[in-house]
């Protein structure tokens, strides 16, 4: 944990309420997100117990499975979930704008500009916690290889229509969520911990109720007591007063309430199904409200300058998957081939570097952390000296001296960057530390001054101005191009097999529970 965050946590612990870690909101929040709060059956993989889902905070759709070990009930749940989720996801597919993109013409090999569709907006799925996001990915994995009766009349246990499609979308959202800064699938705990420091450890922040208790403590309580209440207060029967945000349930709830109710259902007691529905709904509703509470808290923050930029990438991602589904491509394979995996990894690394840079540029508090780490410095310009580059056509290369109290980790000739008012970056190199005065250093501007012999107006800082230089690039780019999958070198397993196993269904047995 960076020292500045540690300090924020300590301030929060001493004050009894969370402290800001950012001054702006660094993630896009949709006006109409789809919230999904899933619950799973303890011990069973991919056997949902219930879910609250919807875009209307007052009227969530409650889906429950009375007996998670019954395949038909589970399929009925997944079909209902597909009916709730897919129309929302599809709702963004048809409102499109057009963007120009360079593509390589396959015949001539030249780069040509083509017009492509870009969806004007994209769906956003919000889940309570990181475990909830992982569960969405798991649901995607468990359903995308299922066969419907229409796809394969011979399938032993045909899935309801649209369930495999739901799996493909959930898989896509889950994969996209691994890209730093992406916002198609967001866990609420991650969103909140990015923006506030609580007076507890990062481990304890995984509890949505406790996290919200620190950020927004109820009247007359400190965050600490409210958080302790949220995570461990139990009623007379030993049931947690604030149910966990899932997808795992409270073991005491399972043993005391759920198991007897399920036994009554299995015995055919009338009203047992309704009772189970009520029980599961009761566990889900507090988390549902907590997610929306978190949403409100985050919406109150002004968005950062680069948030829309990053959301555009999410829109690209959504549009691309929409196209793949429309083209009838098979579901995502179980394992990526070497090139696809390398591409994904490279794009995530690039996204991480971009996110780090953009957050710092958008937010002085984040920049403060980078300055403390020696990756940036800010100071007042004390002198500007005109200078020119060598060569046949001398270009302005002014020397700027500034005084700073920061301690950047500079090496000779280190490249520096600073944002200009027009959003572009100006580059410079570090020249030397000033003699005499402590904290004085000189940099040589190397770009961002136009093409003339005189620097463009406003591109050279004036004495007295405060400037902030970073040692990191503002728009870091990815590494070199990777080959096409069919050109995978033998060192990486060679080209993938021509017939991808992506479409084969999982093996099924007559009873699929243990």
């Amino acid at each position: 944990m960076p020292l500045i965050e540690t300090l924020a946590r300590m301030e929060a612990a001493a004050a009894g309420a969370a402290r800001p870690l950012t001054t702006v909101r660094h993630r896009h929040l949709s006006d109409r997100p789809l919230v999904c709060v899933p619950l799973t059956t303890a011990g069973e993989a991919g056997a949902p117990l219930g879910a609250l889902v919807g875009t209307d905070r007052e009227r969530p759709l409650l889906l429950t499975v009375a007996q998670p070990r019954d395949r038909d009930l589970r399929f009925a749940f997944l079909a209902e979930l597909a009916d709730a989720v897919l129309p929302y996801l599809d709702g963004f597919a048809d409102a499109v704008g057009h963007e120009e993109r360079k593509e390589t013409d396959p015949e001539t090999g030249r780069k040509v500009t083509v017009q492509v569709e870009l969806c004007a907006d994209a769906p956003q799925l919000i889940v309570p916690s990181t475990a909830g996001a992982a569960y969405m990915r798991l649901l995607g994995r468990s359903t995308r290889f299922r066969r419907t009766a229409e796809q394969d009349p011979e399938a032993p246990y045909p899935a309801p229509p649209r369930v495999p499609l739901l799996g493909r979308w959930l898989t896509h959202l889950g994969e996209r969520a691994r890209v730093p800064g992406s916002c198609l699938l967001l866990p609420m705990t991650e969103l909140l911990t990015r923006h506030w420091a609580t007076g507890q450890s990062a481990l304890e922040d995984q509890h949505l109720g406790a996290l919200l208790a620190w950020i927004d403590p109820p009247d007359g309580h400190s965050g600490r007591t409210a958080a302790e209440h949220a995570e461990s207060a139990r009623d007379a029967d030993g049931i947690l007063r604030c149910p966990p945000a899932g997808p795992a349930t409270d073991p005491a709830f399972d043993n005391t309430l759920l198991a007897p109710a399920m036994a009554r259902y299995d015995a055919g007691v009338p009203g047992a199904a309704e009772e189970l529905r009520e029980l599961i709904g009761g566990q889900l509703r507090p988390t549902w409200d907590a997610v929306w509470r978190g949403y409100d808290l985050l919406r109150a923050l002004p968005p950062g300058g680069h948030v829309a930029d990053r959301w555009k990438r999410d829109r690209w991602s959504y549009t691309a998957h929409r196209d793949r589904v429309r083209a009838g491509e098979p579901p995502q394979p179980r394992r990526d081939d070497a090139v696809t995996a390398a591409r994904k990894l490279a794009s995530r690394e690039t996204a991480q570097a971009q996110l780090d840079a953009q957050e710092a540029l958008d937010d002085p508090l984040v920049m403060a952390g980078r300055r403390l780490a020696g990756e940036a410095f800010a100071g007042e310009v004390t002198a500007v000296e005109e200078a020119f580059s060598d060569g046949p056509r001398p270009m302005p290369r002014p020397l700027v001296t500034l005084r700073t109290t920061d301690t950047p980790l500079l090496t000779d000739g280190a490249r520096l960057h600073r944002p200009l008012p027009d959003g572009k970056a100006q580059s410079a190199v570090f020249v030397a530390y000033g003699e005499g005065a402590a904290g004085s250093l000189t940099v040589r501007l190397t770009g961002g001054m136009g093409r003339g012999k005189v620097p463009a107006p406003g591109s050279v800082p004036e004495p007295g101005e405060t400037v902030c230089w970073t040692l990191f690039e503002h728009a870091p780019r990815g590494g070199p191009q990777l080959p096409e999958p069919e050109d995978t070198p033998w060192t990486h397993g060679g080209p993938p097999a021509s017939a991808p196993e992506g479409d084969t269904p999982d093996p099924t047995t007559p009873e699929d529970f243990l």
């Binding site: 011990g43 993989a45 481990l203 007591t225």
Partner: protein, 445 residues
């Protein structure tokens, strides 16, 4: 039976061949537990957790004495949320039964496929499954050792279902029970761990595999003691495999699949941490003479009649090393956390936090040293006694010569100054939105 082969010299302090504690220690531990209370057995999960926090004297003593920590936590008023859902339990048991069905045929097939050894696969009916029942843990452990010796001498395939192994923990014995141990004809003993979390597309949840590997390392560590004895008796070269077999359900089905897990690293950690554990005897000797953790249970054995304050004082006589990781592993963690928070210990925010803070131990000290605002949220229930500062106060002069003396302190002051500057510059200051009407704006101005 200690086999700290490559452990540091400190391990020499742990006497070897100490399967049972001395009579005086045993008497002392009984006193600590309370009269008539049976010691709680220490399972591999608890041992792995203990080994993960070897500096915790409180846990070492309570576990060593076999005190029921869950009941103790309940009586202290901070019950743990630990417990297992009966659904998970049922599934775990039924999966294990399925894997071991037909004399373990499927299990041995998986073992042979994942840990090839050059020996042909066992034929049907060729696998011995000795009876391991005996009275008491000592008896069962002895029975297991005998079965292992015989199996190794026989040189065939043997499947030991739920053997019991003794392991020396801080000078007193603990008994652990692996799901199964397989003896191969070449004298290699393999620990089998059966878990009910799924292996999806050949990969399982990393955190769960890690926990299973740490648990398996405890079994391997315990088995090595028996193996050394068997080899010493000249019954054949017995060797414990450093790769264990992890059996899990495949994908979303109930069919078992398996993977070989190399646990050398976890084994080395377990050995080192167990060697580092302060001996229970020393901890017990340092206690005030009349200390006891007796809950004074009522006759039905359910309600504790001893006052919580008195119990808390008793628990306080031995130090804990609380870190947030304890919450997932120790029944007493909520109690220790409350204490840690009351003292304002920096570790309550995470184990790694202290590394950057030099000699500062409490949050109050850190904030005072940083010159950061502390007592700035009246009405929030905070009661820090640190000096008041406004956020615009840059704190002590960064050029203060004192700062150079302690780099941790200098970094802290710079962090506080940078943070305050950035927050002050962000106009308007970010409010923490509140729902409660009329609530104080908790952001300092």
């Amino acid at each position: 039976m200690n086999v700290f082969r490559d452990s540091p010299p400190a391990a020499d302090a742990v006497p070897s061949a100490r399967p049972t504690p001395s009579p005086s220690l045993r008497r002392r531990l009984t006193e600590l537990r309370g009269p008539g209370i049976h010691p709680r057995a220490l399972d591999a999960r608890a041992l792995a957790a203990l080994a993960a926090n070897p500096g915790c004297r409180r846990r070492a003593l309570l576990d060593g004495a076999g005190v029921d920590k869950a009941a103790l936590a309940q009586a202290l008023g901070s019950p743990a949320g630990h417990g297992q859902s009966r659904f998970a339990l049922a599934r775990g048991n039924s999966f294990e039964a399925r894997v071991k069905a037909d004399g373990g045929a499927e299990l041995l097939r998986l073992l042979h496929a994942r840990l090839p050894s050059g020996t042909p696969a066992p034929e049907e009916g060729e696998v011995a499954a000795p009876e391991l029942t005996a009275a008491g843990p000592e008896g069962r452990a002895a029975r297991t050792a005998l079965a292992l010796r015989e199996a190794t001498a026989a040189g065939g395939w043997t499947l030991l279902d739920h053997p019991l192994l003794a392991v020396d923990v801080a000078g007193s014995p603990a008994y652990v029970e692996p799901d199964a141990v397989v003896v191969r004809p070449d004298g290699v003993w393999t620990v089998v761990e059966i878990k009910s979390f799924p292996m999806i597309d050949g990969a399982a949840d990393a955190a769960k595999v890690g926990a299973a590997a740490r648990q398996a390392a405890v079994y391997v560590h315990a088995l090595e003691g028996v193996a050394a004895q068997v080899t010493a008796h000249g019954e054949g070269p017995a060797r414990v495999g450093e790769r264990v077999l992890l059996v899990c359900p495949q994908d979303f089905s109930n069919l078992p699949t398996a993977a070989a897990v190399d646990i050398r690293k976890q084994l080395a950690t377990t050995r080192r941490q167990l060697a580092r554990l302060t001996r229970v005897e020393e901890i017990a000797a340092a206690l005030p003479p009349d200390t006891t953790f007796d809950l004074r249970l009522t006759d039905d054995g359910r309600t504790a009649t001893r006052p919580a304050d008195e119990l808390a004082d008793a628990v306080e006589t031995v130090d804990a090393a609380y870190a947030p990781e304890c919450l997932a592993a120790c029944e007493l963690a909520f109690h220790c956390r409350a204490r840690s928070r009351e003292q304002g210990a920096v570790e309550s925010l995470g184990r790694g936090v202290r590394g950057e803070l030099g000699s500062l131990r409490t949050i109050e000290e850190v904030l005072a040293a940083a010159g950061a605002p502390t007592a700035d949220a009246p009405g929030c229930g905070a009661q820090p006694a640190a000096p008041e500062h406004t956020p615009t106060d840059p704190g002590p002069d960064p050029d203060d010569p004192d700062d150079d003396a302690d780099p941790a302190l200098a970094a802290l002051r710079r962090a506080a100054r940078l943070r305050a500057e950035a927050l002050a510059a962000a106009a308007p200051p970010v409010p923490v939105p509140r729902t409660a009407p009329g609530a104080e704006d908790p952001v300092c101005r």
